[in-house]
Symmetry: C2
Subunit: 315 residues, 2 copies
């Protein structure tokens, strides 16, 4: 840890939906949504906190027009099926809310330097008549018992819509092998503030369990985190395998001046301890539409464990 | 029981979505969808099986045009807040799939003779921005611990849609007091045949539990029944209170020549034993679109109990 670093304080400024992965060779990578929503950036460092000072490289830029030409959101870097992939979402400047999930595949083994191939829109299973037909975003992937799963948010409904989380198994880095399964819908008041939203899933697998955190409500100070869990060995495509927490696992704290915490990811620090990477604001009063206010900053929080479940606390 | 009656055989011909209620004074009432989908009918008898021979009276006819002018479906008669109500659904002949839930209120205490007032479309809670915006139907109501609940099916999604079940608490016979809560979505293969459907809910309250059956998949021979249950004293607006059965509780039986059983309701016979009223077909091969084939017949089945849970068996 460098001397300037503090948990639960802005760590990397104006980087929302922050994502960190530690690769097999011990290198840390960071990516996130940038306020311009126009590109995908990547940083690399040999230490976790070193990412804040690392050079940021643009590895992909939005298209001029058509799909992927606006609202480039929530990239995540993962290594699966022997390759590096980046999962992200984007809209169409002529239809800005036509957000869909896309995939980049790395040409080599060095995400910073080897270049990326567009694999296009995420491909759903041939029997799936529902996935990626509406506003869909925030994909993450995880491996449980040797199988890869893809979890994403997608809106349903006519008129005003509701954002749910879905899961499916992956066939390869850019294709689903099974039809969608609904994991969670905004059931409670804390998931229904401003908008009815479940999004930003992230998996943490420990103690034989899959803990799947997600974010809820609108992107302002109501934004908060919920959690599902399942036995790692259970059928993760069966909703009965999953248990949802009745209350948020993390929400705004006036005392700590942390507002709208969410859209997290998980990594481990140099000691092997679990660290949550998330974004939050330090201002209670948000100027303008929260989606276009740039002051969501990446922060870090050590994950504590209680009764074999992760606990998220500002101090 | 009259001598012509057999369980799990056609009891009242060409009456789908059959519904029976035994009133406080011991009279039995029957209503159902008629093949023409153009009217609401009612029968009364002093015995359950007597309903098959009872005169059928039309108590309401579809409108000439506009809402409620086509596809009049699944009426149910209930007594709540001191009045008789009929819950049903209907479409608009100029937009036949704009199905919405409607309510009739009886002018007096005699459902057969006192006439009915149209209360119009079911009114959702003022904070509810989602309910009854899309194809919504099959409402039922039940009372648990002194509170009335309304459960209905509504489709979500763009393009091809998915029919889910929702619950809310009632403020009066035609107004919801709370926003919608998602109870179940078609999660399993048996709920996803032809169409992804959960519909036709019906509550049975026994042994301190609410058993909520529903129907799944398309209206043909894939149609089958699933079940949820909750403790009667739990928060029924909390999805965590509900447990879904992994497998259907009733489905087609070649041996018994019963195809596509579902859209049931519950009543008690003259001995106080629980009886399920449901529809099914006796032909495996359905001529034409199942929705417009008239041969869904009302049948009766005694409800058996095992480990304090209802069991549905053809023999």
């Amino acid at each position: 840890m460098n001397s300037y670093f503090s948990y639960n304080k802005p760590w990397i400024l104006q980087r929302a939906d922050p994502y960190v992965i530690k690769s097999e060779d011990g290198q840390y990578y960071f990516t996130a949504s940038v306020p311009e929503y126009d590109r995908i950036v990547l940083r690399r460092s040999d230490s976790l906190t070193g990412l804040s000072e690392a050079d940021e490289k643009e590895i992909w830029h939005k298209h001029e027009s058509g799909p992927q030409s606006i609202h480039i959101w929530a990239p995540e870097l993962h290594y699966l099926f022997g390759k590096w992939y980046i999962y992200y979402s984007g809209g169409d400047k002529d239809s800005i809310w036509d957000i869909r999930p896309y995939v980049l595949e790395c040409k080599g083994n060095d995400p910073m330097n080897d270049g990326w191939i567009e694999k296009g829109k995420m491909v759903c299973c041939k029997d799936d008549e529902f996935s990626f037909r509406a506003f869909s975003l925030d994909a993450t992937v995880f491996n449980a018992c040797g199988k890869w799963y893809y979890v994403w948010a997608e809106k349903v409904g006519v008129g005003k819509q509701i954002s749910n989380l879905y899961i499916a198994r992956l066939k390869n880095g850019y294709t689903l092998d099974t039809v969608q399964v609904l994991l969670t819908s905004p059931d409670y008041d804390w998931e229904r503030k401003g908008f009815w939203v479940n999004e930003g899933p992230s998996a943490l697998i420990r103690n034989g369990k899959v803990f799947l955190t997600y974010s809820a409500s609108d992107t302002g100070i109501n934004y908060c985190m919920g959690m599902l869990s399942a036995d790692e060995g259970s059928d993760l495509l069966d909703p009965l395998s999953w248990k949802k927490e009745r209350y948020p696992v993390l929400s705004s704290s006036e005392k700590h001046m942390v507002y709208g915490p969410g859209h997290n990811s998980f990594t481990t620090d140099e000691n092997g301890d679990d660290i949550m990477v998330y974004h939050a604001r330090t201002e209670k009063k948000i100027v303008g539409d929260p989606l276009y206010n740039p002051n969501r900053h990446a922060m870090l929080m050590p994950v504590r464990w209680k009764d074999k479940k992760p606990v998220f606390e500002f101090e």
